[in-house]
């Protein structure tokens, strides 16, 4: 996998200083994550709210400052690589399209922004053509260039956000919950679009979501995060059909299946979500884990390779 990796992350750590009820705390949002993304691959990152998914994505595009670890793009360390080169090659799609579309600018201006800043266009005609091409690629009529974000539906705004992302022809797209705010019927349209673009433009993608159904549809491989660490990583089928880590198991079991003959309510125990202020000393999942043993309370399980996957657990 590392041979043709376009993106390689090693032991990434990111923490934030926060103030709570008088005290100052250090929150370890990402606590030693290593990942590699192969060319043309979609790697899904899944986990509960607050587990650090977005922080991983933001670190890669330079929106969060890592404490330690390395991120390299096509073999070059990113702190050494030119910032501009990186900004155009690795682009992020956000959950809330409002975050990336300026409400006071036309869709066309937002879509063209990266090109404007970096002097892509020699004239107005070339600029308009680039905007039209990006809008067409995401299934919007070029006339949308003259509209404002409030005139668009949620699905159309997300398409415009994607057009803005792909205009500088990036090789990697980090998609942070890109369909979570959309209704299912529109979600399906946008997911199809992202799968098509990946193929047509040869994109590699880091796809962040809390929804295993969505992750299962689009990803080749999945990394499951818990409290800032990866606890299991394998092919999508392996994770969904045969989850091994106790946390992955409860995540998969808790998906509300659209089949009334498979009701699970009351049948599974999923425990309380963790507080990042009180990180357990051993395995972070121990307070919720049905398999926890004495060792789990003292030793942090390292991610190691077991059969077809990577797992961080003492007891499976």
């Amino acid at each position: 996998m590392t041979g043709n990796a376009v993106l390689d992350i090693k032991d990434l750590k990111v923490s934030f200083k926060v103030r709570r009820s008088g005290g100052k705390y250090q929150v370890r949002a990402v606590d030693g994550v290593s990942l590699s993304l192969a060319e043309g691959e979609v790697l899904g990152i899944v986990g509960e709210s607050g587990c650090g998914k977005t922080t991983v994505g933001r670190s890669i595009v330079g929106l969060a400052r890592p404490d330690s670890g390395s991120i390299s793009f096509k073999g070059k360390d990113m702190s050494a690589a030119g910032l501009r080169d990186m900004r155009l090659n690795i682009r992020m799609v956000f959950q809330d399209p409002y975050a990336s579309l300026n409400p006071r600018r036309t869709i066309g201006d937002s879509v063209a922004e990266a090109g404007d800043i970096n002097g892509f266009f020699t004239g107005r005609a070339e600029r308009s053509a680039a905007i039209a091409a990006a809008l067409t690629a995401v299934g919007l009529d070029p006339s949308f260039a003259a509209r404002y974000p409030y005139e668009l539906s949620g699905g159309q705004r997300q398409r415009a956000g994607i057009a803005r992302t792909i205009l500088p022809s990036p090789s990697i797209v980090i998609a942070d919950e890109p369909v979570s705010a959309l209704d299912v019927s529109v979600q399906a349209q946008v997911l199809n679009l992202m799968m098509d673009l990946r193929e047509q433009l040869g994109l590699s993608m880091l796809f962040i979501s809390h929804d295993l159904g969505v992750i299962g549809q689009i990803s080749n491989r999945v990394a499951v995060m818990y409290m800032g660490r990866i606890v299991e990583q394998a092919t999508t089928r392996a994770v969904l059909d045969d989850p091994r880590h106790p946390y992955t198991r409860s995540l998969v079991a808790a998906i509300p299946k659209p089949d009334p003959s498979k009701r699970i309510l009351g049948a599974i125990e999923t425990g309380e979500p963790p507080s990042l202020f009180k990180r357990p000393s051993g395995c972070a999942y121990a307070p919720r884990c049905p398999l926890a043993s004495h060792r789990c309370l003292v030793d942090v399980p390292e991610l190691r390779s077991v059969d077809d996957r990577a797992l961080a657990c003492h007891n499976v």
Partner: protein, 324 residues
């Protein structure tokens, strides 16, 4: 128990009303869980607020229809009359508990206040009942948590507090508007399990609103599918998933990723729902329906009963729901 008949909620002047809920009818039996499902903006929240008598003022209003709670039409009553008549026994919980909880008051006091309103007790008995309610919603360490502030609780725990407050009035009907949408699946499964257990134990009926077909399949006894202000299909949960008859219901099920694992492309429903008031004639789903025929655009479809308790608002319903 609760019977909603031909409920229409409208915006705009009386001379040119725009209906955001158009002729909605449903029945909710004792202890029954009715799931109301549909995409955002279809009118689910407006329906529930109209039933509760909580429509925002000024703005939407009930134009026609009745909301019968044990036979009495509550739309005709003032709020105090509802309580006096013993009909104040509907309660509601919302998607985001943080917006309904007071951030600077201890949760024990907030629950006790609801107890005070309904049981007319205060002081120790009210606190004791508050604690009992926290036990009922399975809050860990209920006695200790009475003195917690909302921000000290997790999202799932806050939703438990909201449920406790709603239960303080011993409701016969609980209306839950997307109460688990903001929660992680691992916590959602607990809150859904709790709600179902409470309905069984307290013989309470629930109108459960969601946009998630998976949640409906897990929880509901019966389902009403809503589109553009109308209920387009109602059926028992097994019948609905086994044999969806409306083209919209079928489309919603088909485009769920979890029903398609493996397929390279997801089936989609093209286009988007019409804005309220823009469909002047015919079927509201016509602009997106793959099976649309000429008459659908001009003649409003009839409400047809495809089998006992299974109704569909379509002139050309799916015959057999097809292979699943």
């Amino acid at each position: 128990m609760l019977s909603v008949r031909d409920l229409t909620v409208s915006l705009g002047p009386a001379t040119a009303p725009v209906d955001i809920v158009a002729g909605v009818s449903f029945e909710l039996g004792k202890g029954e869980i009715l799931g109301l499902v549909g995409e955002s903006g279809c009118g689910k929240s407006m329906t529930s607020l109209a039933v509760m008598g909580l429509l925002p003022q000024p703005g939407p209003r009930i134009r026609t229809g009745q909301v019968l709670l044990e036979g009495s039409d509550v739309t005709q009553m003032e709020p105090w009359q509802r309580v006096e008549a013993g009909h104040g026994r509907m309660a509601m919980i919302f998607q985001e508990p943080m917006t309904s909880l007071n951030p600077v008051r201890r949760i024990g006091d907030q629950i006790a206040e609801a107890v005070q309103v309904h049981d007319r007790v205060s002081g120790l008995p009210a606190t004791a009942r508050a604690r009992e309610l926290l036990e009922l919603v399975r809050m860990p360490d209920p006695a200790m948590q009475l003195s917690a502030y909302p921000h000290q609780l997790s999202g799932g725990q806050r939703q438990r507090v909201m449920i406790a407050i709603a239960l303080a009035c011993r409701p016969q009907v609980l209306i839950a508007d997307e109460p688990t949408t903001a929660l992680d699946v691992t916590i959602q499964v607990q809150v859904l399990g709790l709600l179902r257990e409470l309905c069984n134990r307290l013989d309470m009926a629930m109108l459960f609103i969601t946009h998630d077909m998976g949640v409906i399949a897990q929880l509901a006894d019966r389902v009403a599918v809503m589109y553009a202000g109308r209920i387009v299909e109602t059926a028992g949960v097994e019948a609905l998933f086994g044999r969806p008859c409306h083209h919209y219901t079928r489309g919603l099920m088909d485009c769920m990723p979890s029903r398609n694992s493996g397929a390279r492309r997801l089936p989609t429903i093209g286009g988007q729902p019409p804005a309220p008031g823009t469909v002047r004639a015919g079927c509201v789903f016509a602009s997106r329906c793959a099976a649309v025929r000429e008459t659908c655009r001009s003649v409003a479809p009839p409400r047809a009963e495809v089998s006992s308790g299974h109704e569909v608002l379509c002139a050309f319903p799916l015959d057999d729901g097809g292979p699943r």
